[in-house]
Subunit: 141 residues, 2 copies
């Protein structure tokens, strides 16, 4: 029993929490929380998504998604539009102000990363990033 860090899965869970806390702190002045940010980032890489798709991909409850989209729509960062495939359902899309907001928040993301990875040199950071991407690509959106 080696306490907290015995296996990599658990280590990832704990570091993920810490990263999330740092993101939340850096997002505070914008009035958004990390879940809003995650939703915006997901939309930036898509043409728009159904709410149930956001729920499945981000791992948040469907009811939470509705509230997050409401918040972001009020701020003008996303819009609900009729789905091109099915006019009865609506997709959530990033607006131009949403894209601008995300671009502005990239420095915040970089700050979080720098703080978190302070113990590693740049070659090690690159290695870590590459390995994490491969893990992520096997299963994340």
């Amino acid at each position: 029993m080696r306490g907290l860090h015995a296996d990599t899965g658990y280590l990832l869970y704990r570091l993920g929490l810490r990263s999330g806390q740092l993101f939340n702190t850096s997002l505070q002045e914008s009035g958004l929380r990390l879940r809003h940010y995650a939703l915006l980032r997901f939309l930036a890489g898509s043409e728009g998504a159904l709410q149930r798709e956001l729920s499945a991909r981000l791992g948040y409850d469907p009811s939470a998604i509705v509230g997050l989209v409401d918040d972001l729509e009020r701020l003008g960062l996303v819009e609900r539009r009729p789905s091109p495939g099915d006019r009865r359902s609506r997709v959530v899309v990033l607006t131009a102000p949403g894209r601008t907001f995300l671009q502005g928040s990239e420095t915040a993301g970089q700050r979080v990363t720098d703080e978190l990875l302070a113990p590693l040199d740049s070659a090690e950071r690159e290695t870590l990033h590459t390995l994490l991407r491969r893990v992520a690509e096997a299963g994340l959106a």
Copy 2:
């Protein structure tokens, strides 16, 4: 804007969520959730901890900690005892059944890790683990 995986900090956050979901699934039959497990694992590496210390180290609200400790105490996995340093406050300690439970759950942790890291070979897993440990040791409990 590269969607989800632009920076390592965010990637860690997203993979941490996924790892947490896998842990929660594997803990289901025990009736515990990941937060209980995290608390037990923290205690396994300590001589006992004040509730406020658990809150600070694990990053959960103080009110959440009280409920988690209540649950675990009911199951006999932890105990509240008078603090050796200050008889007016109480520390939470792992009991012998708590230690046995944790040992039994190590295979669950290993399963989660294997599932998560499936895209990597064993040398790559070792590299990832070493890098994550160094990041964790700089700031985690």
